[in-house]
Amino acid sequence: MVLILVVLPSLAGRYSLYLVIQILILSVFSLGFNLLFGYTGLLSFGQAGFFAVGAYACAKILLAVPNLFLGLLGGVVIAAAAALLLGFLSVRHTRIYFSMLTLAFGMMIYSIAWKWRDFTGGDDGLVGIPRAPLAIPGLPALSVASMERYYYVVLVVSLLAIWLMYRLVNSPLGLALQAIRDSESRAEFAGIAVRTYRLVAFTIAGLYAGLAGALLPPLENTVTPPIAHWSTSAEPVLATLLGGIHVFGGPIVGAFLFFMIKDVIVRFTEYWLIWLGVIVVALVMGFRGGVVSMFARRAARAEAASDR
């Protein structure tokens, strides 16, 4: 799989690369979301806020200092700081109140992006963001201006982020988060400082959203307020639900399916969201484990059959 991704630029055209970059960005975004939802049991409707903080921070940095490394780093750090701050307030609640709080925080960020013209460019957004060279201190600067080069940047960063998240959810910390998801009171009595751990998960989810957001402006060369809107927060929710919330790879598969569904349906009709809606309803009604566990179950059954 990784091999295919590595040789992809020699096989596929610019559009496919663009699409794969989008899939990788949504994968990172969704993995962060699912650390909060699938692993810690908190449904956030405000992740677009941190995605936008990452994107705007990266864009502002790139407009001032043309260095992609600084742009990405700045986006991640500032988004994580924002998540730490707002998370401190958000994790006081759980369930619907948590969802409402995160929705409100996300929309506050949206209204800032929209109204603070001098800094964010208002509804025009920020334009002319350069795909600046990647200059990591101590290493020679690397031009990433071509789509192909930038693809590799996104690929390396995403794979690293995916690997780190994999380690995280399979670590003692990851287990503690899942324990909190299953029973808050029992986790307290296992000696876990529940609220602190929730804040950690929230901050990491915000960090991943910020990283995903920071990868966007160099690709699109612009940033506009709609990326902070709550309907953007819904994208990782949908991707994660599509792929499956209780499997590590669910959000990644879901991000792939999300863009495939969009890409295929858009060829026939501009109204692709209605079909996405139908799929969401069908998933919630019938296949809450998502696509990955559906196949996992089928594979397990096939294995059991062949054993006999």
């Binding site: 209605i274 969401v280 919630v284």
Partner: protein, 285 residues
């Protein structure tokens, strides 16, 4: 001074749309314990149906509104009876997601049926024109909206506090098992309440079309406003929803007057502060 009083009147009519949509949301949450993300889309459906019945088919205004209410009520019934009812027992996150799926479907369905552009039916002749209020022309239609909103408030109060039906619903809201034990058909109450709440949203949408235009994005905008109001008033608290509709409606009328840039921002600040300090709502006992 007159400007302030006049703006208050404008705010009052704005508050009535907010009241109608948040009343339905509140009743549904209060009884079913479901946050219906698609409630704004039901408001939007009400607006479009009213446009079709009144603006396109030329039916009488009252009949058009009545038909849109019935249409949306039926839609709500289908949503509850065939979808939500099957997943009451599982994690509430899935209920949110399911209603989110409905948003996607309804919003695109509207674009498919009515196209992506704004639709504005004419204001009915008997409600056209303006009265003078505080030295300025105040549209008669706005006064009509205020009257309908207040009437709905009175009727809801009478319904829930005074009628037999209201007592059944309140009993079901406070304790489903007990209600079930005394012979209340709980699933039927749920369907009825969901349908009723949907119709309130539709009423707001249908009445709004002649002045607020019907557009595909209106559902998403309204649901956020309705969330703000129900949170400030306290989830499931009908009186709270009424008071906070007035508050938000009037505040945003003044907000656009005094600090137009950060109006939206401040409303979300209020929502956050209420959630953090008084999650049961400002008007809870």
């Amino acid at each position: 001074m007159d400007t302030i009083a006049f703006q208050g009147l404008i705010g009052l009519s704005l508050a009535m749309y907010l009241w109608l949509i948040s009343a339905g949301l509140t009743i549904i949450f209060g009884v079913l314990r479901i946050v219906n993300f698609a409630h704004g889309s039901l408001f939007m459906m009400g607006a479009y149906l009213a446009f079709t019945f009144y603006g396109q088919l030329g039916l009488p205004f009252w009949l058009a509104i009545l038909l849109s209410l019935l249409g949306v009520g039926l839609l709500g019934l289908v949503m509850e009876r065939f979808f939500l009812r099957r997943i009451y027992s599982i994690d509430e996150a899935y209920q949110l997601l399911l209603t989110f799926g409905f948003i996607l479907i309804l919003d695109d369905a509207v674009k498919i049926i009515w196209g992506g552009v704004f639709k504005i039916p004419p204001i009915p002749a008997f409600l056209d024109g303006a009265w003078r209020a505080f030295g300025r022309p105040f549209p008669v239609y706005n006064a009509f909206v205020i009257a309908v909103g207040l009437l709905v408030a009175v009727l809801l109060w009478a319904l829930f506090e005074k009628s037999w039906w209201g007592r059944i619903v309140r009993a079901t809201a406070s304790d489903r098992e007990m209600a079930n034990a005394i012979g209340v058909n709980v699933p039927r109450v749920f369907s009825g309440v969901f349908m009723f709440g949907s119709m309130l949203a539709a009423l707001g949408g249908a009445m709004g079309t002649p002045v607020r235009v019907a557009s595909p994005g209106i559902g998403a905008a309204m649901i956020i406003q309705a969330f703000i109001i129900t949170v400030i008033g306290g989830l499931g608290n009908l009186k709270g929803a009424f008071v906070s509709s007035l508050m938000v409606g009037i505040l945003s009328a003044y907000g656009t007057l005094f600090f137009p840039v950060f109006e939206l921002f401040f409303i979300f600040v209020i929502m956050v502060v209420v959630l953090l300090v008084r999650p049961q709502g400002l008007f809870a006992r």
